[in-house]
Every structure is written in C-alpha cells, then in structure tokens.
Symmetry: C2
Subunit: 502 residues, 2 copies
Amino acid sequence: MSRTVEVTELVLRDAHQSLMATRMTMEDMVPACEDIDKAGFWSVECWGGATYDSCIRFLNEDPWERLRTFRKLMPNSRLQMLLRGQNLLGYRHYEDSVVDRFVDKSAENGMDVFRVFDALNDPRNLKRSMEAVKRTGKWAEGTICYTTSPLHTVEKFVELAQRLKDMGSASICIKDMAALLRPEPAYEIVRGIKEKCGEDTLVHVHVHSTTGVTLVSLMKAIEAGADIVDTAISSLSLGPGHNPTEALIEMLKGTGYETKLDKGRLLKIKEHFAKVRPRYAEFESKIYGVETEIFDSQIPGGMISNMESQLRQQGAGDRLKEVLAEVPRVRKDAGYPPLVTPSSQIVGTQAVFNVLMGEYKALTGEFADLMLGYYGETIAERAPEVIAAAEKHAKKSPITCRPADLLKPEWEVLDKAAKALPGDNGSPEDTLTYAMFPQVAPKFFAHREEGPKDPCKSPASAAAKAASPGAKGVDGAGSITGPVTYDVQIGDKMHKVTVQPA
Amino acid sequence: MSRTVEVTELVLRDAHQSLMATRMTMEDMVPACEDIDKAGFWSVECWGGATYDSCIRFLNEDPWERLRTFRKLMPNSRLQMLLRGQNLLGYRHYEDSVVDRFVDKSAENGMDVFRVFDALNDPRNLKRSMEAVKRTGKWAEGTICYTTSPLHTVEKFVELAQRLKDMGSASICIKDMAALLRPEPAYEIVRGIKEKCGEDTLVHVHVHSTTGVTLVSLMKAIEAGADIVDTAISSLSLGPGHNPTEALIEMLKGTGYETKLDKGRLLKIKEHFAKVRPRYAEFESKIYGVETEIFDSQIPGGMISNMESQLRQQGAGDRLKEVLAEVPRVRKDAGYPPLVTPSSQIVGTQAVFNVLMGEYKALTGEFADLMLGYYGETIAERAPEVIAAAEKHAKKSPITCRPADLLKPEWEVLDKAAKALPGDNGSPEDTLTYAMFPQVAPKFFAHREEGPKDPCKSPASAAAKAASPGAKGVDGAGSITGPVTYDVQIGDKMHKVTVQPA
C-alpha cells in the first residue's frame, strides 16, 4: 500500500515569478488551464503579491479579473495564493479592516487556499488574516519561513508550527524561499511537527531549487510524513525556480509513496510552457544551474544583484565583497530575521549604507522601524546600541505590541482616495488595488480600458537605467566626496536619504 | 562519526562530452588542473572514447599528449578513464594483443583507474582488458550498464556484480548513462551488491541528471553503502550532464555522511568553467532542464535526435512517432540490450528501417551482427525469426563464443599500416590511434604539426548538412518511390545499404 503525496503546481505564480520576473501574461496561461485543472493537483498556486503588482505595473491586466478567469477555467481545482499576513500583497502593515476586506474579496472572487506568512515569523502578524480566512470558510495555511541562524533550531520551528496550529491553521507550510532547506533538517522539522502537533497535522513543503539539493529535501520531508509538496512543471523549473513536477513523480516510484498526477496531462502542460518560455527571454533570471554559495553567505541571489546595483549607483561597484561580509552582521544585529521580502531588502540596503558610510552612521527609515519593532518580533534580541541609534534617527520609541495595533481605521480614507481616481470602477477591489499599490494604481486605472499589454514587445528599460550617471557627491573615480543623496526603493516606496561620509 | 563518501569529478571528460559535444580544448582545462588536483577528489575522470575521438577529429590535439599533460599537472590525483572493454575506444572488437597494448600504453602514460564496460553487459567482453589493467598494477573497475526491462531485476544486476568481482574488479561501477536509475533501485542494487559481494566491496555510482531525479538516487545509494559517487562542478552540470559536486556536499550535511572536498577549491573550479562555458555555446546540448519521458520511452535524447535526422534524410520526418514506438519492439527482439554506444545507434537505425521498409525487410550489418551474437551475449533470448533473417542477410552463422575469439592477431598489420601514414611518429601510441580511428587518424597525423585548433572559431557544418537534398529514390513529397540508398554512420564507420519498399 502506497501513501499518496499531494502536489501543488506553481507554474502560474512562483515559477514565472522566479524565472522570468513575473511577466507571464494571462494569454499565455489560458491554454494550459484545462490540463492543469484535470491533472490531479491538490492545489494550483496562481496569485500573490508579485503577480498582482506585475499585472498592474507591466501587463495592464486587472489582477481580480485574472483571478476570476482562473476560477472559471479551473472549476475542479483549489486555487491558492500567497498572502503576506498583515502586509497583504503590499509592503506595509494594514489596519485590520483592510485585511478583512481583502480576504473577503479574494474568497468571493474564487480563492480557496490562503498561504499566510510573515517575513519575521511573528505569529501576531498572521493572526488577523488567518481569522478572516477561516470566517470565509476557506483554507488557512499558516506558514513558517525557513532560514538558518544559531537561533533557528528544529525545536524553534516546531514550536512555531504549534502556535500556527493553535491559531487554527488547516495545514502548516514550511516555506524555503532561498533553497536553504537541506535534506536532514527537512526530515527533522517535518517529523518534529508530526510528533508535537499530531500525525494528522497536514504539512505542506515549499522549496526553491537554487542550491540544487531540495528535491532530496522533498524526498526526506515525504519520508518524515509531509503530506503536500510544491513543484513546477519541468519546462518552467529549476534554477532559482522549483523542482520539476514530473521528476517528483518519477523519484517516488517504488518508494512506497505516489502522487495522483496524470502524466499525459503533465506532458501537455510541459509542452505548452516550453513553447511559451522563449518569448520571455529578456526577463529570464541570469542564475542558471546551481548556486550553493548561499549556504555560507546566507544571501539570496536576487538580493546580491540588488546590492550590486545600489553600489554601482554610488560608484562603489568594487565594494561588493565588503557588503557581502556586512550582511550577516547586520542580520545578527537585527535579531536574525529570515531574508525574504521585505526584510531582505531592508537588511541588504543597510549593509550597503554601513560599508559606504560607516556602521549605522546612516539608517534607512525601514531599518530603523525593523530595529524598533515596527515590523514585529524577531527570534533573537536586537542589538541595544543599534536600537538606540534607530530611536534617535526615527525620533520614535521601540514598541513591543503587534504593529497593526497602532494603526487607525483606514478603509474609508483609502476608499475615498481610490474613488477619486480617474478610471476607478467604484468596486472594493479597486480600493484594495489602490491601498496596496498607491503609486501604480492611478496609472493602471487610467489605462485599464486599453487592455492587456504584451511585455515582450516593450524592451525593458533596465539597460538605460544601468547606464544612468553617478549620484551627486560622487566623483568621476567613484569616491564619495561630499553629502550623497540616495534613492532607495523598498517594495513600492521610494526613499530619499542624504548622508555624509563618516 | 560521519562516514566519508568519495567523489569522482567528471568535468574534464563526461561533463563536456554531455553538455558541449566533447569540444573542450586542453587550453581551457589547464588553468583548473591545480585546483582539481588539490580539491580532494578520489579520482579525476579525464579520458575516454569521445574525448580521444574529438581530440583528433576536431581539436588537432594528440590525446596521448593530453593524458601526459594531465599526469604532469595533477600529480596527486588518480586519473580515470572510460574504456569500452574489447572495443577499447573504438566501435569494433579488437583482438586481445591490441587490447593489451592499449592498456599498457595508457598506464605508462599516466592512467590510474580504468572503468571498463560493455554495451551488452557481457562480462566476456570485459575480461581481457580487466586482466591487462591488473597486470599493470592499476585500478580495474568492472562496470554494470544500468537499464530497465522485464529481465533487468535487482538480482540480475547483483549477479553481474559478483561476476565482475570474481574477475578481480577493485571496485564495481553502476553506470547510469541515461539517468534512468531511480532512488529505489539505486538503494536496492547497492544494498544487494554489499550483501552478496561483501560489505567491503567498493561500489562506485555514475549517474546523469537528464531526468532530474538522480541526486536523490545518489542519496539513496549512499544510504545503502555506496563508497564513491560521480559528480561535475556546478558550472558544467545538470541537463544531460551530471549532478553538481557542490550540491552533493551540501546535501550530505547533517546526514552522517560527508565528503573530504575543499569548498574553496571547488569555488575556483566553478568560476573557471563558468567563464569558459559560453565559448562553446554553439555546441551546447539543446536539452535544458529535465526530460522525464525517457522513463517511458526508454530512448535517450541523443538517440532521438539521431533518428530524427535519419528520417529527415529520407523525407520521412513525420514518422518519428512510429519509430519511437518501434524502438522498444526492436530492443525486445534483440534481447533487451542497454541502449548505450554502440547498441543505441544499432537499435535506433534498425527501428527506422523497420518503419520505412517493413519489419526486418532490410537489416544493417551491425544489427545482423548483434542478432547473431557478434557483439556478445544479451540478457534475454533474441527473437529466433529475426536471427534467421540476420543469418540470411549477413550470410554467416550465429555464434555463442566470445566474439574476440574469432579475431586473428592484428597488431603487426595495424602497426605496418599506421607507420606507412605521413606524419605517423613511429610510436605504438600512434598505431593505437590508427587502430581505433582508421578514417580520422591519417588526416590527424598529416596535420598534427599545426598544433591545437580552436573549435569555437570554425562554425559547425551541421547547418549545411541539415539542408542537404533528399536521397535518391525519394520524391519531392517525401514518399519512397523506388530503391533507396542509405548512408548510415555507426560509430566511425559509414554503412551503405540499398533497399526496396516492402
């Protein structure tokens, strides 16, 4: 008797987010939906922060319309989304009534499974959205962001799982966004959860393939009792993406585990995306094959390229090694947050500042907030002297409460502002779009009528950006000579900081 | 206490053979040799049939000089080669004295480990070369070609391992050239060998990564007791190549197994080949990512592209599906040979003939020889009616003896013919080059003085070939109208066959 392992297919969300900058258009997904719907997946991940953002920023597609189309084309499937807890799909904490409305509307438009996570693994940041999901009768999946540090022991992860279960998680997800989950801890954590939270606790494992070891980790997680695993169809797999769905099936043959997937359908899905992929060549990740250095550096590939471009803008492209060495120190001072949006950008940018200006001579507002507790609790204590610097910089006190408790009701304000925008269609969905992407929504509303745009026909402006002249205060040789003004984008928000050499 | 797993690095032979048509020049390998030599590998695979062939056919490098250079640059390493048993590095059986001389000269020039295999897994075809290796005091590794069929049970593979051990194998290699070895049989076969042949029997596992599952198979093989595994540095890994060396190390962390490899050295090797690889873009395999269809079709990717080009030459490019369905039937009639050089080409070409002309209406000489036992014994009985057809076609009788027993001493003849060629340097090594590649050696000898050629500067003539006009006997619409003459290349030999429609 074989045990069935269930599978979540990632091709419609995380696969193209990881491999082609989230650019895939609905037009390129529609032809595969029937086969995906009938292939036997436990769920189909198809929505999240980056796809929503890309829809309105690059593709001129309404993300809600995309969701409704998936619902219509995949009537037999659980649709799944990734939700950043109290951040929803944006980059700041939202007040609880906005959280409730977002979840209600998502459920109403067809979402079934909500994978809820918080960048700091602070359960208080997941609580409200989990409750909202449960109220709609949909599936609330509490999530553990996997990372490594002296504090991140198997016991700590298992404890967190228990807290998520106590909050009513229908399943527990182990989310390994940086492909750091080796086979041995994969086994230990899944086994630990099963033993502590009960063998009937559903464990769902999400891994990326960047480091090349994580299909083995899935094998070990399954041996330890994992119930559901995430993969992507082979033609949109590997590299910074995920393990191939077909390889999972073949790996399990004869082991006492099996999937319920239909290989004929998978072949059709594979062939479809193999045909589609070359259209997006200009957006393809530059990481091919395998990068194992991240096990030592703790720094995901995407974060390195961000920091490189920040350094180049300051004429300091040669100081990357110093920054790479600085990141683990900053992460330690900040209480060992997992490095995932937005904490990876916050820590990375601060490391750049420390190298260029001296340790904590200049702080971004976001880093100060992180140090002061405005993103939530961290696993380790944060460095007191850096907290003091943050207090001085941000002119506010540290907090220990749930960050969203400090927010005033904001739905009415957001709703009014959204409805005032030309092209807003008066729906709560449009208000949510505005709430989450206030800088992008106005342009999207104004041009929505023009219909979907093909990103492959408008060459990226990246090249032009890369060639932009050095910032003021930087001389021709790339040395910093006076006060420098930085434009730092964290998530959706541009951040202007002027600092002097230490 | 961790158990040490030893590692063979493939980058200098099988990695570039699998990923870039064996084109890597010595010039691009030399800078990495010191790091490879000091990284802590059990052995460094660096020589074999395809690299030898490519040296004299494309690179104008003397393969013996290449071997001597490796020997000089890697004084601390075991150098390893792949030897096709009685075929040596060529495509036919050689008489025993040629086998002896080849092994002697390879040992003398610096080879340490001889991995000896036979395409049919007939131990009689390995015996002479294994004996020759042992006489030189070098390491003789008897090899099992892994394949799947109703006859290829774990018990059969273990039995074969025992025979190889009885023949004096210092270690047993499981060679999975088509990435068909799933985790479960990997475990069972290694465990079976350890239990039957003794726990101290060294087991060496070679897998390709084409199907995406074989790093998991290595994990399982290691759990079952495998002593040495083959990998390639990450920047020349994956796809139809091999699992990344660095991923193996990381996978094992915490599992109770560890390698002795130096990660600092590996990073330098990785960076070197990452820099070198783009030079060979025109030779890159078109398979990227993962292909799992081979588990069902049994047909390696390279074999499919061969058959496709044969079909196109006959104006029958649309009949590939019929040929793919025919291959397993032909393989069954031929006694389920593993599909590896040269059996994959022989079976594939016969399948093309069967589809175009009717079942066994036309036979290649090689297929007739295979049916009549001239390549050795197969695991299953061969189809009697096809043996009868082969007897008629080839006008010779089936044999059951070791094929090489029928050969007359040939060293003197080969030596004389080689020495008569302009540019032959009078060495036994040159005679061996001529013996193995009689059609390529004359040109190589004549031009050797000109020194190494950079293959990346002479665009491949593949495009021109693909555009060649259809064969005589094929009308404009691609239908076969009369007798057709086929030029079929099997290994080094061109084969002309004229057949009529059935």
